[in-house]
Symmetry: C2
Subunit: 328 residues, 2 copies
DNA sequence: AATCAATCTGAAAAGGTTTTCAGTTTTTTG
DNA sequence: CAAAAAACTGAAAACCTTTTCAGATTGATT
């Protein structure tokens, strides 16, 4: 059937072991190496990765488990992870959980069966809570979200600070009735909530919060309610890009415009936030950096398994646009 | 080290073969099956997929090779492919080529080494042209783009028709000087070009075309030139979502608005096209359908390898928005 | 009751590679 | 130049399953 290392060995007049050594760049006399290499070319030999993995006990595979690759944050993240992975000669197996804990456990089990080298993982809060009870045979690096302190490496945005920066920005521009619409599944949303709440209280302002599943449709439903209330807020903050999108859609339907009718700000500097109306003020996350850092942590963890778990915290950047302009 | 099928066999007091049969749902006496199942639970056994793949000669893996997962078209496509794959108990290995032929050949080689069950592939024109000379050990289904007729299955939009529909739409609304900005790497852009050209000529209009690498920055550069010409067109068509985005950015920089300054239309109903200004007219592609169809074709090809190659052509849908409104 | 068929189980081979171990050749050293 | 060390190579074991084949058990038929 398919040509294997044995056939190459025969063609080159050497043992399979020697072929394997040539492939792995071990020491082999130039002359033999030459013969093997032409034999490989002639036979069109391609290594069988399953066999290689089985014998060498290295899968050269890393798992990427995210809620939904269609969330632009995770799209960009996945690209960064893949670039780093392929540079290190590793494959990436991609898994979408839809924020569904049962899918998460199923994929984590799959990762075990694949004997992956490591996993980059954005868990739901529900699964994250049990994360230190679970035991994996591979290192896990959490991204965007984290679990109970201490068991796994993680890389996250400084969410409280970022959230507070939004409040500060709005406050400085004269807004006082600042509402927040937050996701209800991740540690990230929770941190952004507490950053918001604290910043509000520091300024003697009353927090006004709502919670929603982190997707545009669900957010739009709640946003419509908030925006139709008699005491509509002056400003509305979204805890991530999907929710911000829902708000934008609700505003369009209701014929409301920022900043004239109310100020709007949120997270994730997605393309459309710069194009819509006269621009939406957002916190930009260094998404590619997050992905690269996660891979770096993963590799370092593999190198030094005993090292104490680390948290890498990156700063967001406030992108001021017209949606939070001071009204004259 | 890790618990294998042998350990389970010992624990259950049966042979490894029986354990394997239980795992594969073959006939095994209820009593033994019971014993094996509890042994599996007790030992925490997890199958080793590498070993399984090596022995069974089924990788249960499909490759997905796309230019860039960050292009929303391919993001959505990948999600559809993965959903279908995981339903069929298959993994997906994701590869980004950046429209770079050398990365394409490298990934195709990787697919051979993985002994994948099949590949879903959006090739550059350059590689597509050689595609019938190459021989793979696995079926390949082309998506979005196709190669020289006849060797592989493919799923594409009816691009000529869609492109013509845009011209027709603009023509019906009174626009006559209709320019087109097309990508230069794919068969898709070429088809959209010829649909455009023919539709223009049928109406006695002179085609005005420019070509550009399919990414927003490159498109923005050319768009700025087009929009600054003395004989600026009445209307501008983009051959895909990334180019349309470049045009939108250029217009914003130049302070131009659609439809007042010129009409704008394009492909791919991305979120932002409905939010920007008063909406951009686009052809919406049934992206998820394209992904599902591709997987269906792949599975049917595996089932019936001899079948003549098929082309599935899906229709786009014109979403009329304000950017092509007739000027009163 | 004896035979035949059908069902179930276990021993052993197979899948394609890497790695160990021992043996052979080459190089270095005294 | 001889002995020791180093470098290289090949045979065989190992990685963990699935699958084949033959043997054993059960059930059905005459």
């Amino acid at each position: 059937m398919s040509v294997g290392i044995k056939d190459v060995a025969v063609a080159a007049g050497v043992s399979p072991a020697t072929v394997s050594r040539v492939l792995a760049n071990h020491h082999v006399k130039p002359e033999l190496r030459e013969r093997v290499e032409t034999a490989i070319r002639l036979t069109g030999y391609r290594p069988n990765l399953s066999a290689r993995r089985l014998r060498s006990q290295h899968s050269n595979t890393i798992g990427l488990i995210v809620p939904d690759i269609r969330n632009p944050f995770f799209t960009t993240l996945s690209r960064a992870v893949e670039d780093a992975a392929y540079k290190a000669n590793m494959r990436v197996v991609l898994c979408n959980t839809d924020e569904n804990p049962s899918r998460e456990t199923m994929y984590l089990r799959l990762m075990q069966e694949e004997r992956v080298t490591g996993v980059i993982y954005a868990p739901t809060r529900e699964t994250a809570a049990q994360l230190d009870r679970l035991n994996f045979d591979f290192p896990v690096v959490l991204v965007d979200r984290y679990g109970p302190a201490g068991k796994h490496d993680s890389v996250v945005l400084d969410n409280r600070q970022a959230s507070a920066a939004l409040v500060e920005h709005l406050h400085a521009r004269g807004f006082r009735s600042i509402a927040g619409l937050f996701g209800n599944t991740s540690s990230t949303a929770r941190d952004r909530l507490s950053g918001y709440t604290e910043a509000m209280q520091e300024r003697g302002l009353k927090p006004r919060t709502d919670f929603v599943a982190p997707n545009p449709d669900a957010a739009a439903v709640v946003a419509r309610q908030i925006l139709s209330r008699k005491d509509r807020p002056d400003a509305l903050i979204a805890s991530n890009g999907l929710i911000l999108l829902g708000i934008a859609q609700a505003m369009q339907e209701l014929g409301l415009r920022a900043p004239d009718d109310l100020a709007v700000a949120g997270f994730d500097n997605e393309i459309w936030t710069g194009l819509i109306g006269s621009g939406l003020t957002v916190i930009e996350q260094p998404v590619a950096d997050i992905g690269h850092s996660a891979m770096r942590l993963l590799f370092e963890r593999i190198e030094t398994p005993e090292m104490a778990p680390r948290v890498v915290m990156l700063s967001g950047k406030l992108i001021e646009r017209n949606s939070t302009r001071r009204l004259s």
